[in-house]
Symmetry: C2
Subunit: 165 residues, 2 copies
């Protein structure tokens, strides 16, 4: 079973593609280990203060972010596809155990599926984050929220954290 | 990686559990082959007149049902988990390629994830269909629509079809 190619639709999707000088397996570990996530996942001065990972299809991906003022924002998603060191897929459209999210219309604006793809490139990694939305409005709101800066800054933090480990 | 146990929540989920006298691999083939699906999937006098299956995580599961009056009802879902002869999971909360469904509020009433589990039992199969909803309202609407009769009659058709093949 080969895995499904996922081609971005520019009207509905957001993409961050970068080359980083750490290995795919290091990026994979940073994305799939709760203790690592806390060190890089949220662009400073925001923090990720809690994380739970059940790394299998249907499993939970939970984080709690904290604003600089101390307000907490819990997030929960469901893992869909786990191809070690290559592809990680989760969505917030489903809660853990594949249950459809019973979202408020406000949260629904940011419903998405995220696909992290890693490919060995020289001694580093071609890193692609694809974020898939259901409509243009959700995509545009996510972009205005600061998708590109936020995900890019988090990736910088990830690389810096890996190098310190 | 062991797969996630999925425990029904009686307030949110619907379950059909039956023992049938055909083998798990025969039931699996009936569920995963478009030509087979057309013969049993929709309780008569409704028909399934078209079916497309891309059997991998993120792949499409499309059917077109036809009412006795000739009206057509297309359905589309996204496969999530494929464990040959054991477990098949798909949802209509996501479109193929893991895209969040851009559903109308009417369709949203029947958003669900379906899990077909097969277990060898003597010379037959313990067959469990678990349908997971996001809220009680969706579950109750689905039940009133005739879930138990409909899915049970379709299973009878499946068994009858397998025995004729």
């Amino acid at each position: 079973m080969t895995y499904l190619p996922l081609k971005p639709n520019p009207q509905l999707d957001l993409v961050l593609e970068r080359y980083v000088d750490v290995l795919p397996e290091q990026v994979w570990a940073a994305w799939t280990t709760p203790e690592h996530i806390k060190h890089w996942f949220t662009p400073a001065p925001w923090k990720t203060i809690d994380c739970e990972i059940d790394l299998r299809p249907g499993g939970a991906f939970r984080t709690v972010m904290q604003s600089p003022e101390g307000q907490e924002f819990p997030n929960v998603g469901c893992y869909l596809e786990i191809v070690e060191n290559e592809r990680l897929v989760w969505t917030n459209v489903l809660a853990p155990g594949y249950r459809p999210s019973n979202a408020t219309s406000d949260a629904a604006a940011f419903m998405f599926t995220a696909v992290i793809s890693l490919e060995l490139h020289g001694k580093g990694t071609k890193y692609t984050a694809l974020v898939i939305h259901g409509d243009e409005d959700s995509r545009n709101k996510h972009e205005k929220m600061g998708f590109h800066d936020g995900w890019s800054k988090a990736l910088d933090q990830l690389v810096e954290y890996i190098k310190k480990c």
